[in-house]
């Protein structure tokens, strides 16, 4: 086996051999190599976020017809490092009567909640932190730590706006978790497994062809889960200062920021894994590590869509946000799940499997369009017409003089 066949396995083997030569007990070797794996996967995410912040600022600038960061380093690449140094040297303020422990744990927890997802991301054939058989459920479970961190931050700040932001966050994150989880069931259903590796391996035809609408719904509800524009009600600066992180300064604010950016990219990675074939691509048999590039390329595409939406759409109103979720997204995702399950079983193994599922999606899309049109018409009919206001008449010209 040469180095370029599978570099990670080779390096791992080298570390294990080194420890075997030192005559360490087997248990300890397993423990240390697992620990090294954890550190590598976690650092990958944390280092990637430095690049992602630069990327997002650059892309957002282009959308707004600006140049973006361009002073520190070539193309402004060192801008984020400069920002990190600035954030670390800033004064670290804890508000009076804040709950100190919860206040300080919350930003760490918000990053950890995202990093935990990376434990089950399949990078390439055989490259995965841990291939547990409940991978999809695990992703849903660790997401709840993010909600807890937002709540802790909002409550412990001893600030009304922060608490309001936390309330909004809980309402939004819990609501949008429902359609997200239901749409996640569809790749599980098609792949017949909840393991992340199994889902990627089952995608000889990408699931986006079998389930285009669920892919869209997953991306949409995920954007709401990150709390980005147009769903940034939890930190709406025109209404509640900065929401749950109003009181945070310096690197503690930076951690929330980094967690959000990493989460946005993770959403891209998850969309790529569940619907766009993950690490699948040409020449994988010769060079398995190419899978990392395929996965990252697909993930960046998803991330670009998230950035695109963020730079384009205005913030949604809070009652619209909830109504959109409960009256539209949730019923639609339930209908999609039922139709996908029936069609998948009915056309199992036949040649028209892909076509049938795709047609089912198109049909649901058209039906929901018609339904939306009806609702919109009814709302417009019910809207009260504008009353003509009484306007003060200008005094006659002769009287004034």
């Amino acid at each position: 086996m040469t180095f370029w066949d599978d570099p990670i396995a080779l390096i791992g083997q080298w570390i294990v051999d080194l420890m075997v030569q030192l005559n360490l007990p087997t248990n300890l070797i397993v423990f240390i190599s697992t620990l090294v794996g954890v550190i590598v996967v976690a650092s990958f995410g944390l280092i990637a976020v430095i690049f992602l912040i630069w990327l997002e600022r650059k892309v957002a600038a282009r959308f707004q017809d600006r140049l973006g960061p361009n002073r520190a380093g070539p193309y402004g690449l060192l801008q984020t490092l400069a920002d990190i140094i600035k954030l670390i040297t800033k004064e670290d303020i804890t508000p009076a009567k804040a709950d100190k422990i919860a206040f300080n744990i919350a930003p760490v927890l918000s990053v950890v909640a995202v990093l935990l997802i990376w434990a089950v991301i399949p990078f390439a054939p055989g490259w995965i932190g841990t291939d547990i058989n409940v991978g999809v459920l695990y992703i849903a479970a660790v997401g709840s730590f993010g909600i807890v961190s937002v709540l802790m931050a909002g409550w412990s700040s001893n600030n009304k706006y922060a608490l309001l932001g936390a309330f909004r966050a809980v309402a939004q994150l819990i609501s949008y978790e429902v359609p997200m989880l239901i749409t996640l069931l569809i790749p599980v259903l098609l792949a017949r497994t909840m393991g992340m590796m199994g889902i990627v391996e089952a995608q000889s035809t990408w699931f986006v062809l079998l389930a285009p609408l669920p892919a869209f719904l997953f991306l949409l509800s995920s954007i709401a889960e990150i709390g980005r524009t147009p769903f940034d009600l939890l930190e709406a600066e025109s209404e509640i200062v900065a929401g749950f992180h109003t009181e945070y300064t310096g690197m503690k604010f930076g951690l929330f920021f980094a967690g959000e950016f990493l989460h946005a990219f993770t959403v891209g990675v998850l969309t790529a894994i569940f619907f766009f074939g993950g690490w699948r691509g040409p020449f994988l048999d010769q060079l398995p590590w190419l899978g990392v590039f395929y996965l990252m390329a697909k993930a960046l595409l998803g991330y670009f869509i998230v950035m695109w939406v963020r730079s384009t759409l205005p913030r949604i109103r809070i009652d619209h946000m909830l109504a959109f979720n409960w009256k539209f997204l949730t019923p639609l995702s339930l209908a999609l799940l039922i139709v996908t399950a029936i069609l998948d079983k009915a056309f199992e193994g036949s040649g028209s499997h892909t076509i049938a599922l795709f047609a089912g999606n198109v049909l649901i899309f058209l039906v929901s369009l018609v339904a939306l049109r009806q609702v919109s018409r009814r709302q417009q009919a019910a809207r009260k017409p504008f009353k003509k206001r009484k306007v003060a008449k200008a005094p006659a010209a002769g009287k004034a003089s």
């Binding site: 058989n133 695990y138 849903a140 709840s144 709540l151 802790m152 309330f167 978790e177």
Partner: protein, 172 residues
């Protein structure tokens, strides 16, 4: 001592400590936060027992839903927190006695059960426990009737909640 045993001891100590904190804190939100640590520790124990599905469900259901709902309830009833404190502290000696009694009875009863002291058998390699659980839940030989009864019950609860929360006096 294997590393697994080390992890178990640390987790067990964390569970006991945080469980003690849950019942002794004055601040209800602190109690709720310590409860999250306790529940997470139990999830870690499930992982050590190779019950991955249970561990994930533990986190999803308890930490994801109940802990958050609890914090929510506490926040919305903030005015009553001071009254609640005194109630919980007044009877602490009595409560401690009852819990020690309950715990020792439980240990005594469990000690007579033969499985209590035997070691768990190794899982056969290549068995997908999640698939087996799923099949057992919907197969007629397994638990299909309790499963369906539970889902009907949940549906009834859902409809009931909708009925109660429905705006009054507006249309039908």
């Amino acid at each position: 001592m294997t590393p697994i045993q080390g992890v178990f001891l640390i987790t067990a100590a964390a569970i006991l400590w945080s469980a003690y904190m849950v019942v002794t804190r004055d601040n209800l939100i602190h109690s709720a936060l310590y409860l999250i640590i306790t529940l997470f520790g139990v999830a870690v124990l499930f992982v050590l027992l190779e019950a991955g599905f249970l561990a994930v469900v533990q986190v999803l259901v308890y930490i994801g839903a109940i802990a958050i709902l609890m914090i929510f309830a506490v926040m919305l009833t903030r005015g009553d927190v001071d009254k609640l404190e005194q109630v919980s502290i007044a009877n602490s000696g009595f409560v401690a006695m009852i819990s020690i009694l309950f715990f020792s009875t439980l240990i005594l009863l469990m000690g007579q059960w033969p499985a209590f002291s035997s070691t768990a058998p190794e899982l056969e390699a290549g068995r997908d426990t999640v698939v087996e659980l799923g099949t057992a839940l919907v197969s007629p030989k397994g638990y299909v009737i309790p499963f369906e009864v539970a889902s009907v019950l949940l549906l009834a609860a859902l409809i009931g909640a909708l009925y109660v929360a429905r705006p009054q006096g507006k249309g039908k």
